[in-house]
Amino acid sequence: MATAGKTVGMPLGERLALIAVILLAILWLLPLVWVTGVSLKNNTELVVNPGAVFSAPYTIQNYIDLTKTSALGTWFRNSLIVSLSHTVLVLIVSCLAGYGFARIEFPGRNAVFIFSLVGLAIPGQAIIVPLHSFFNAFDLHNTYAALIIPGIATPFGIFLMTAYFRAIPAEIEEAARLDNASRFKIFWAIALPLAVPAMATLGIFTFLGTWNDYLWPLISATRPEMYTLTVGLAATQTNIDQSEGLGYLMAQSVFAGLPMLILYIFFQKYVVRAVAGAAIR
């Protein structure tokens, strides 16, 4: 920390930068405040009066309405199931393979590793059409499986975990071999616990990515009860042009966004550390 806590006697340039950032912060906050305001307004009033949000009366009717419609809860649950399962599976597959590439000296290892990293260049968006047909062939759309499986084998995960396992001192593992531990035991009892920071990075990235994924659930989950939160909320957005129920829509977005925000604020230390962890290596 180069400039730890010295605001007094700060040079002019730094002071200007600080002011700029504070202004930016206000800009960042405004939409959130505004949306909250709109969510607390009567829908008809919003249609008629453009500036309605800036004056009373406010009401929590939109939130009451929200609890009456159950879909949001279902979507939320779906998102949770899909994101958690996908993340857990990505971690399992990536850790296993990462360990394998890092520690098992099978012939042709480097070639297979490079072959595995080629996938880094394949954007998920570029394969949605065949992937859709593929799941179609097995009648798997509108199932959790379809939402969870694609992307479990992520070259990024392999890359990250392999690098991390390689960085664990070989001596620790050799000690375990002398301690009569089997290969899997070494992986499970020694390597895995030591790889928790990398797993946190991969897990948080994966969870955020899955939670926010839009394109694949959009084409795979076509039944409302299988919607994830992103797709469900997207479906309701088509009404915004009519600004019908604008307050209701905004209440939805507040309601749907809040859990992630709260979760983030609670765990932000880990989230930030995990994200940063990916950069330093």
């Binding site: 620790i172 050799e174 000690a175 071999r177 002398l178 301690d179 009569n180 531990a181 009892a189 030591l194």
Partner: protein, 360 residues
């Protein structure tokens, strides 16, 4: 407690031959030190005994079993690593229990063994700590404890003291030596530090370039180094090597000319010819007003009990000698050294050593 036999061991990394056709026998209960500079193959040899490295050719026997094909866990060896290689996420007790749990040892037995090891190593109060909360010396003791609880036939140490500070190193040397006496186990210890080797070993194996230079008791190695390499590697400050320009035999002993000076040695003259090198350890080259060798003082190191004198011969060659604790010499002084001919060495063109002292 088992003996170890290495037979015609060969190790290649790709086309690079790290160890060439090495054979060695280690007696049961013996404390053996592999000594040599880094890259000499001593660690590779140790790792092959442990099973962490495969042999390219040759056999390894531990006790009555031939083991070179067995995985490390089945060889009955325990190893203490240079970095200790403690499991960072486990407590001290868990670190020690891991190996025992893996072979299905009963819980009560594990606990008893840990308690015993903790007592020996004075780790009782640390059992619930994790390695990150321990000092270097404590970690080192845990690493040893982890080896002890397995009651192995053979202990292997891979430069375990190199990460300790000087004081602690000295103390741990004593502890390991005591441990060896207590346990009576076969121990193989790898180091590049000749003091460790000298102080602990019953038998030192000096290695260079993947080959054994000399196997012997510490004093034997020190007093009768088999090769010029061994002579130069063992002893601090290192032995002085002076080029011999001419020789003559006087009463069966060799006298050698170094520069303008004729130096008598205790080395038998018989059979020595060709280009030779005279070897004198600093303690055999003492400051003496009546000495035969004249030199000019360069650096003076006062150690308290004695004084090390770095000096320059007229021919420009540097030598290191000793003076008493009250030496008054300073930079630039003219000095004379006398040679203790009973402790001289002569190395022939092949580097083989010939000594004034005879084997005990």
């Amino acid at each position: 407690m088992s003996r170890i036999d290495l037979v015609n061991i060969n190790k290649k990394f790709g086309s690079y031959e790290a160890i060439a056709d090495l054979s060695l026998a280690i007696d049961s209960g013996e404390f053996v030190v592999f000594l040599g500079p880094s890259g000499c193959g001593k660690t590779t040899l140790l790792r092959m005994i442990a099973g962490l490295e495969a042999v390219t050719a040759g056999e390894i026997h531990i006790g009555d079993r031939r083991v070179e094909h067995l995985p490390p866990g089945q060889r009955g060896v325990a190893m203490v690593f240079q970095s200790y290689a403690l499991y960072p996420h486990m407590t001290v007790a868990q670190n020690m229990a891991f190996g025992l749990r893996n072979i299905g040892t009963e819980k009560s037995v594990i606990e008893a063994k840990i308690a015993e090891a903790a007592r020996i190593l004075q780790l009782e109060t640390l059992l619930d700590r994790k390695p990150g909360q321990l000092s270097g010396g404590q970690r080192q003791r845990v690493a040893i404890g982890r080896a002890i609880v397995k009651s192995p036939e053979v202990f292997l140490f891979d430069e375990p003291l190199s990460n300790l500070d000087a004081m602690l190193r000295a103390r741990t040397r004593v502890e390991i030596a005591r441990l060896h006496q207590t346990l009576g186990a076969t121990m193989v210890f790898v180091t590049h530090d000749q003091i460790e080797a000298m102080t602990m070993a019953q038998k030192i194996v000096v290695m260079s370039n993947g080959k054994i230079e000399q196997v012997g008791a510490p004093l034997d190695i020190y007093r009768r180094p088999a090769t010029r390499f061994v002579a130069s590697f063992v002893g601090v400050p290192a032995m002085n090597f002076l080029d011999v320009s001419n020789t003559e035999a006087v009463r069966g002993k060799l006298h050698v000319r170094v520069g303008e000076t004729m130096i008598p040695t205790g080395v038998p003259a018989a059979g020595l010819s060709g280009p030779l090198t005279l070897g004198i350890r600093p303690e055999a080259l003492r400051v003496d007003a009546n000495g035969t060798i004249a030199a000019k003082v360069d650096v003076v190191e006062r150690l308290g009990d004695k004084t090390i004198i770095h000096a320059m011969l007229p021919g420009g060659q540097a030598v290191v000698g000793e003076d008493g604790d009250t030496s008054a010499l300073t930079f630039g002084d003219q000095v004379r050294f006398s040679v203790d001919s009973a402790r001289t060495h002569v190395f022939d063109a092949a580097g083989r050593g010939h000594h004034a002292e005879v084997a005990p």
